[in-house]
């Protein structure tokens, strides 16, 4: 077995407590797939099909209800992300696993360059070196240099999204989970993001991305996992789709 990630029989239900009763919602059920190191899998499907649920379960933002998520760490251990203790999850998040949402959430008033540099400082970099690298990534994401020392709170939506992505890319995660990384970007900016993701893939990172934009997806992924109503409809190699 040399898969990096194996998801087996993953189910996620949400039990919503209400005044007098409770309601059970299904996020996804019986999801299984596996990923080889360096592979990029896309998840497609209509809104509400459970695409984000899968990657949030892998990142453990959602507590999986059933099933296993085996992840092989850098040092060769096999960890079940669905059941591992929280401190193991925290340490994996700090060292090798990243998640990028559509929205940037940061402490206000912290400059963009520091938001990126913090990630490296937390991994033992010296502040000067970290800032240097942070500037390279802002450059790569085509963020105007005049904005680097201002807080992303003042940025446009697309710029925020790129800072958000850069914040994950700068750490070169082994496993990167992407929730619609190109959702609100113009064509030119999408190209930049695609380039950056392809670059990371070349470095050997394994990725799972939720996409609505089939054009972007086609340029990035090796396989597509298509969902409807919380279940897998098909898993296809990229060439066969569209």
């Amino acid at each position: 077995m040399n898969d990096l990630l194996t998801v087996h029989g993953l189910c996620k239900n949400f039990l919503l407590h209400r005044q007098h009763d409770a309601k059970l919602l299904t996020g996804c059920s019986d999801v299984s797939f596996s990923l080889k190191p360096g592979e990029f899998m896309g998840i497609a499907g209509p809104s509400g099909a459970g695409k984000s649920t899968i990657i949030k379960c892998i990142y453990r933002t959602y507590l999986p209800s059933e099933g296993e998520i085996f992840y092989r760490t850098k040092d060769g251990r096999e960890v079940d992300l669905a059941a591992a203790p929280e401190r193991d999850i925290i340490s994996l998040r700090r060292s090798e696993m990243s998640y990028v949402s559509q929205f940037l959430k940061v402490i206000p008033r912290v400059p963009a360059v520091d938001i990126l540099a913090e990630q490296l400082v937390a991994r033992g970099w010296r502040p000067d070196g970290a800032r240097e690298r942070a500037r390279e990534y802002l450059q790569m994401m085509n963020i105007d240099p005049s904005l680097w020392d201002t807080s992303p709170v003042t940025f446009s939506g697309g710029e925020q999204q790129r800072v958000n992505l850069a914040r994950a890319l700068i750490t070169q995660p082994r496993l990167l989970l992407l929730d619609e990384p190109t959702a609100s970007l113009d064509a030119e900016t999408k190209k930049i993001v695609v380039q950056a993701l392809l670059y990371l893939k070349k470095q050997g990172s394994t990725m799972i991305g939720v996409f609505h934009d089939s054009d972007v997806m086609r340029r990035l992924v090796d396989r597509v996992f298509t969902m409807t109503g919380g279940r897998c409809r098909s898993i296809t190699r990229m060439q066969e789709v569209v």
Binding site: L15, K56, E86, K105, E118
Partner: protein
Amino acid sequence: MAAANDAFVLRVNRLTKRFGAGCPSCYALTGPAGETNICPRCGSIVACHDVSFDLEEGEILGIVGESGSGKSTLVRCLYFDEEVTDGEAFLAAYGGGRVNLFAATAQKKRHVRNHLMGMVYQNPLLGIKPHFTAGGNVAEKLLTADIYNYAGIRTRAAALLTRTEIPRGRMDDFPAYFSGGMQQRVQIAKALANNPPLLFLDEITIGLDLSVQARVLDLVKEIQRELGIAMLAVSHDLGVIRMLADRTAVMKNGRIVELGLTDQILEDPQHRYTQLLVQSML
């Protein structure tokens, strides 16, 4: 729930704090199920009951809950401001993590508090003396931690105040004439003075205006990143907890009803009360 492990900085076991004489049914009749922390039979207040958790190295553990849920009492017990009714606490840096702090003598407790803990209260004036200079306040904490060299104290105080962005020129001024945000930053400098492995933060952003809030949060994060201090951060503001904490415990009527990764607590809350809390967030 956190699994048992040996990398803890602070371990709390079944901590209970009751105000009042108590009766045999106090604990059964209070708590989230009965939605009260006042015992209907004897009128005692059960502020905290059966609270257990591990605080791990370099971690910020958030504690959220409504007013009266027992969060501040918990922190005050751990800092020995209050005497616990029952329970144990272990500090890795004290007695190899095998000595129950609550059973120690008052003198030992004072030693632990002065050397191994820092506290930042909601109200800065609880933590600092407004009519000592800013530098003098930091010096006081150093003196209690047995550092007596005058020049050393002065240099360290200046460095800490600079770190918390108090202008060098204000070092010999009285915090009584500082703004609330500046007072809070003096308090943080003071709490850090003895290089504690453990820091308690009790609602540190309440009463500060938004711009100062952001700066205090950034300062706390920076301190954690650079010094690796473990912190227990109490707040009723989920936004603050989201920014600071790796893991979060949710308290209700003196009990921990849920403990998990902060993003999991916010996005996939399990307990009825946590769901209510998160759904009420603006």
